[in-house]
């Protein structure tokens, strides 16, 4: 039994200062303090208690690139970041693109007892962008999110055939990394003031916009569920807003780093700030912040992309793209976008992503009978991220003061991470 007292608790009908009792993997009572002999007692001193965070976008690098991350280190990083469920992108080596690779990945995920690892599959065979992946076998194994993340489906005709097929599988989501390679070319950072000044080849925002527009048009025709990954431009936000206003079920996510930073941070050419999509201009960041507040963008997702220190200690243009994000996500989001409102914070970081991924035991308000997947988060605690549970250390927030810290994570009734509770 775990008893958490004096928390600001996210309930179905509002925020309560109350006591939460956990027995087994379930919340058994909220509100009245029981006799708690033998219980683990946590005094939350007024900080936020809500459903465990859910990340729709994580690269675990396992199998194939386990020097960067593996299921074990990635799970520890997730728990340390307050996550109780993460969606593992399928661009492993080999990729998850059919029944056998999906079953193998799901078995490895089930062996982890600190976080739900939700296995996503590719949209195309071998993630090569040519033929459809083995959807039925993956679906039968339990896969619901399909993405060629790292690349968009290159041809509109192929995407249209994919959507025509996947619309018949209930709960299946087409998740797109929106970037037109014929426009983006060999760019290394956002095409803007900084790239112009330093003469670095740019990644224009329009490379994303055209794929978002294309995908919305096809999804509208096919009635397929479309999810746009890591939205980064103001124009993408407009396209998604219009599609939703027209009644389409287009969902989307934004990363903490795109909310917190813009391309002005790139003047020093720090390879840890190199990621795709790139940090955009200030006006894009401003549009993303508005969109995550007002709900046009549904979810925060980290795009946690580990690369070993030696891989990042190279010239900017030769550095691999990606940044880790699991352990700083909640703090970065609270610091730069959603630190004011507990409900919206948990909507975007837990409830909405759990709904998009179809996870019944995640993203639930705290009521008797709810699963005990929880996070205790202090929105006012200041700290400076330094070292990480992840095998990789390529964080854009290392050395930067953030406000908001995960104090403890509870997964299926057990403490999966315990920080400085004080």
């Amino acid at each position: 039994m775990i008893v958490i007292r004096n928390a600001s608790v996210l309930r179905a009908d509002g925020i309560d200062q109350s006591t939460v009792v956990i027995e087994g993997d379930t919340i058994t009572s909220v509100g009245t303090e029981p006799v708690s002999n033998g219980a683990r007692l946590i005094d939350a001193k007024g900080v936020w208690l809500g459903p465990g965070l859910v990340d729709l976008h994580v690269h675990l690098r396992d199998p194939g690139q386990t020097w960067k991350e593996d299921v074990g280190s990635g799970s520890r990083a997730a728990a340390a970041g307050g996550f109780t469920a993460i969606v593992a992108m399928p661009n492993t080596v080999p990729p998850v693109d059919g029944g056998s690779s999906a079953v193998a990945a799901i078995e490895r995920a089930r062996a982890v007892d600190t976080v739900d690892i939700v296995v996503a599959g590719t949209l195309t065979e071998g993630r090569a962008g040519k033929e459809m992946a083995g959807f039925d076998a993956m679906y039968e194994a339990g896969v619901r999110i399909f993405s060629d993340d790292g690349d968009a489906v290159p041809e509109a005709g192929l995407l249209r055939r994919i959507m025509a097929y996947l619309r018949d599988l209930p709960g299946a989501v087409v998740a797109e990394h929106a970037e037109d390679r014929s426009i983006a070319g060999e760019g290394h950072m956002h095409e803007g003031m900084v790239s112009a000044r330093l003469g670095i080849a740019g990644l224009p925002g329009v490379a994303e916009d055209v794929i978002v527009a294309r995908d919305i048009a096809i999804a509208a025709e096919m009635g397929a569920a479309l999810h746009i990954q890591h939205v980064s431009t103001a124009r993408s936000v407009e396209l998604i807003r219009d599609a939703r206003a027209a009644g389409m079920s287009v969902t989307s996510e934004v990363t903490p780093h795109h909310l917190a930073l813009d391309d002005s941070a790139l003047e020093g050419l720090d390879p840890n700030l190199k990621m795709y999509p790139p940090l955009r201009g200030a006006e894009d960041r401003s549009a993303l912040r508005s969109a995550i507040r007002d709900g046009v963008i549904d979810a925060i997702a980290t795009d946690h992309a580990p690369h070993a220190p030696s891989e990042k200690a190279v010239p900017f243009e030769e550095a691999p793209r990606g940044a880790i994000g699991l352990e700083t996500a909640a703090a970065a989001v609270a610091s730069h976008a959603l630190g004011e409102d507990q409900r919206i914070f948990f909507e975007r970081m837990s409830i909405s992503p759990a709904r998009i991924a179809g996870l019944e035991r995640q993203g639930r308000e705290l009521e008797p009978g709810s699963p005990a997947n929880l996070v205790l988060f202090d929105p006012a605690r200041r700290w400076v991220p330094g070292s990480f549970a992840s095998k990789s250390q390529n964080s854009p927030f290392a050395g930067m003061e953030l406000t908001g810290r995960v104090l403890a994570t509870i997964y299926e009734g057990r403490v999966s991470y315990e920080g400085e509770l004080i």
Binding site: A196, R197, P315, F316, E318
Partner: protein, 302 residues
Amino acid sequence: MSTGPQHGLVSLRGLGRDRLEGLLDRAQSYVGSLVSSELAGATVTTAFFEASTRTRLSFDRAAHRLGAHVMDLSPDLSSTTKGESFKDTILTLTAMGTDLFVVRHWLADAADLAAEWSGRPVINAGVGRREHPTQTLIDAMTLRQEFGHLDGLRMAIVGDIRNSRVARGHLEAFPTLGVKLTLVGPTPFLPNHNPWGVRVSTELDDELGDVDVVYLLRIQNERGASQAIPADQSYARRYGMNAERLSMLKPAAVVMHPGPMNRGVEIDDAVADGERSLILDQVANGVPLRMAVIAEALGGTG
């Protein structure tokens, strides 16, 4: 970012007018001087990871004229040279006793990284599309010789500016020196953003009557520029500097080019070899200007 003299010359960005003019004065003092021994015993290493003839030779000659020993590293440019081996190369040459690096590389942060890895001053001899600071200073020196001053001059930089590190160096330093810049070219050749806040024009003929200097750039086909415009002669027609356009200039206006030139494209023979051309003066100033930058970086008193 390295800015102090003790760090060499990685970028012109943010350098004050005093420091820039001090370098030009020092360079001017070397004009006509034969041999100095002020850097006797010092080792200057030229590490060029991109093809270059005139820049490397000019640095080599400048270092020799100061009495320094020169080590030259020109890696096999036909093989792919990764940043990793770049680091190993810098560390090796540091261990061999390099006092100053002169670096040319296709990577934008190569000079910064060489300074960080070696702990030695580094002179940027052209990195990526970012800057080519000594070329910019050479051109400032040449213009000061021609006009007696820089303040108030108007310069049109014409051509493939988007791919030009020379232009980016000019954009960082010439406004500080009082020169008003206008960037001229077809839109695909202009920077897609304008963080410098300079004038931009797509019509060369509209600009010619107003400027003191026409600074021509070649089309950098090795950076894919040829795919950005039609593959016909339209560039030469719209932007090529020819005898007719020369006649549209003010009487005292001059023409410059950092080389290598593509005659018949951005510049005609009559212009390149004509009396308005300062192109050979630019080349001649390369050695004294680089002497000044090397001497400053190694703390020589001059």
